[in-house]
Symmetry: C2
Subunit: 226 residues, 2 copies
DNA sequence: GTAAGGCATATTGTTGACAATCCACGAGTT
DNA sequence: AACTCGTGGATTGTCAACAATATGCCTTAC
């Protein structure tokens, strides 16, 4: 392991990050029961910091822990994934509205620039949905922080996105969707640029609603089994 | 049998509960820097479980922890308290809508019954705002769980309510508000009973909006200093 | 007199060993 | 043959000692 680690980062934080990414990337399959000692040897940690990290992960709902029985990765059902999108709809709607009221002109310009780069990425990497997903994540990330609502950003970035991303990695976005999503992103930013919070909220809600319907359709088609 | 306590409760859970209530009740003042050893002696714990609990509290945003520098209770500014209510508005709006779609008839009847008991409490205990606050908490708690949206309930009950309650304890609700709030509660339940999700969402949002404006007014009057 | 730097102390972060608890397997009984 | 009960093993929960780091005070130089 290359020790690039910052000294201000404690071992427990390190463990937390490792585990979180491992869960999100799918290296630790949902429902899988994992022993503490195995995790220790896998990430070169001792049980103290590991347990601390496990506690945090549990508190965030990525793990379930039964006393003396062990830890297992949470397995989210299809219904629960849909519910997640319903929550995103209202929370990101609020984020968009507040972002329209509070983002600086600079931030908005920057956001527009990133949209251009996302478009370029989609154009050249035809079908490489991964980058599109990263771009999408980047977009929503900026809106969340742009809202200047600390707790809102914390809940979105710390709780919801990680759970959603758990499925992003196994779930390729459908063919025409990236282009459409980009268009929707543009409209939202436009509304923000015009400082029209109400419109930004409406458009964001519709955007996430569309994404949810897209996933629902896939599940019904049986393309996506969770 | 002296062991009324469930054995499935681990020391870390115990520590977590103790600390959480201590923070919420104000026994640990916001901004106060607290040493680990002091907490250990105070709650009869060892540092292992304590640290695990601290990690969870930090992850939930009730504590801030700087490496090697110690732990201190988070201090929420007036603005941030307002922001909390903005989040509640959209999230509980969603909860109300989903509750209208999914609560059982039994649950709704039960909810109505609790509203009656709340009314009785307000009538007899004139000015005892504490019970009203508890009743209010109870009401919102039921709506959240009634939504059948696991993650939504988790975020509301696990994250937001505890932060809001931090201030409930020092902040007596204003004179006429309990009665008004109760009336709003009734309208919401009525909408739920009629399975009108859209209306329930609207009414709940307006209800929380009113509560927020009430607090904003108090802050501007200087009655409430945070 | 003030500011910068180094040292001591106290506090946090980490480690490894010990104790308590659950799960699985096997034996005995119906 | 199937079910229940008991025991062994493994895993988790807990503890106390060790190491690393930041804060505060004192000294010293300008």
């Amino acid at each position: 392991m290359a020790e690039v680690q910052l000294q201000t980062q404690t071992r427990a934080d390190e463990a937390f990050d490792c585990l979180q990414t491992a869960i999100v990337k799918g290296d630790l399959a949902p429902g899988e029961k994992i022993g503490e000692v195995e995790l220790c040897s896998r990430f070169n940690l001792t049980r103290g910091p590991l347990r601390e990290a496990l506690g945090r992960l549990e508190s965030r709902g990525l793990l379930v822990r039964r006393p003396h029985a062990g830890v297992k990765v949470v397995s989210v059902s299809a219904d629960e994934l849909i519910e997640l999108y319903r929550i995103r709809e209202v929370m990101e709607g609020l984020a968009a509205r507040q972002a329209a009221e509070r983002m600086t002109d600079e931030e908005i310009q920057d956001l527009l620039a990133t949209l251009d780069s996302h478009e370029a990425m989609i154009e050249e990497a035809q079908g490489q949905a991964y980058y599109q997903a990263e771009g999408d994540y980047d977009f929503h990330h900026r809106i969340a922080t742009g809202s200047r609502n600390t707790k809102l950003a914390q809940m979105l970035l710390g709780d919801l996105y990680y759970m959603v991303r758990m499925y992003r990695y196994r779930l390729s976005t459908s063919a025409g969707r990236p282009h459409m999503a980009l268009g929707e992103h543009r409209s939202i930013v436009e509304a923000i640029a015009q400082r029209d919070g109400e419109l930004a909220e409406f458009l964001m809600k519709r955007h996430i609603n569309a994404a949810r319907q897209n996933i629902e359709k896939k599940i019904q088609e049986g393309v996506l089994t969770i």
